[in-house]
Symmetry: C2
Subunit: 260 residues, 2 copies
Amino acid sequence: MSNNRLWVKQILVSKDHPRFKSLALRNKLVDGYEKGVTSTQGLIAHGRGEAFDYLLGEQTSENALSATNVACAYLLTARYPILSINGNTAALVPEEIAEFCTITDIPIEVNLFHRSEERIKRIADHLRAYGVANVLTGFDVIKLDHIASNRAKVDRQGIFKADVVFAPLEDGDRAHALTQLGKIILTVDLNPLSRTAVTSTVTIVDEVTRAMKNLIGFAKHFEGENDKARLDTLKASFDNFQNLKASYVIMQKRLQSLVQ
Amino acid sequence: MSNNRLWVKQILVSKDHPRFKSLALRNKLVDGYEKGVTSTQGLIAHGRGEAFDYLLGEQTSENALSATNVACAYLLTARYPILSINGNTAALVPEEIAEFCTITDIPIEVNLFHRSEERIKRIADHLRAYGVANVLTGFDVIKLDHIASNRAKVDRQGIFKADVVFAPLEDGDRAHALTQLGKIILTVDLNPLSRTAVTSTVTIVDEVTRAMKNLIGFAKHFEGENDKARLDTLKASFDNFQNLKASYVIMQKRLQSLVQ
């Protein structure tokens, strides 16, 4: 088959189709669902993200790019950074996770809102198949306070020990519980109004595939960077509230342009 | 169990939870998915709706209430009205459909974007279990022009014959094909920017459960109404473009309020 077309759930979609990228992502997610990597709730959450991305014009904004830069600075200067990966993230960006981890040597913890040992194993296997070497699956768990118990489990050698947690597409309760523990939370969330978005230290309001590609770009750029002061300045100059506001403004302007 | 709480996919969610209603709806849909009533694509589409509802403040606007009123006037004055029901609508509002059909004596046609005889049967059985008496399942089908063939089938005794079609959560291609046939299309769509929203005669920009409850309220209010002139005035006074604009403005203002 020509690489200008793609089978999306039995429908042959041309790369010229205005919704091609969106349909291709959806297809990845539905495949992930069929493999047991993501859940029915994950599919619904993805649809929600799609709508916000539509309002953002389906492109990375300047403020999202800055936030990605800052998130990368946090990860590169952390004492013990970790990537907290759930089903949707694993289904959508396994190659990008593998590449980022290879460059930065940061470990991964599989962490689910709808936790099941079976699904954690599937996600870990899925990530390993894409070349992710260091995957923690919650062997040595501890429960966080202030959160329903089935969502509170984190690995003592992973998220619990980490000072900086990169948790894309995270649940609001858990993002809050982690910040309560004094951790720096970096997230990717297309909804700038979500509890995760407003709770996190740095919120990249962008589609996760675009965000991961940019994160990889920054990590390569900063590779071997010895100027810690420069990375610290990047972190200090960032204001997440102003960053979220910039995304509200983009959505608002897009709606306004449709009214006129 | 106390009726102040609800099991949402193995998570006991308190009615005080800020996302209780949204999680309860999601649960209904996931149950529908597990019964084969809705599809993976239906789950994603629901998520998109959630995002727009979030921007609407998760409540019925004045303009949505007016549009519901007008839709009801169209249904009550139609020569041959019909309800076109898909998987998501059947999963989310079976009780409301049954109640509305009992009051108005309007028949239903099960009509799917991802058409399969098996799923049509499941949806029809699901609706009948909730007390819907008159369900057409496309026994005597005819194909519409200008639309991909697997989505073009409608029942000769149902949608094809109808002058007014109430088609909540409808696909844009089909909404367009039906208006091309000169039919009045009434829809419920949380996305005021969708092709369905802009193509239909009356678009109720509201969550389908809230919309159906209001529709039932109007139908009861108008029951036995002999003043056809009053219903015709309601219809004539409605401008769908102004109605959609009002929804853009609500979303835009909500985003603006967050910036200030």
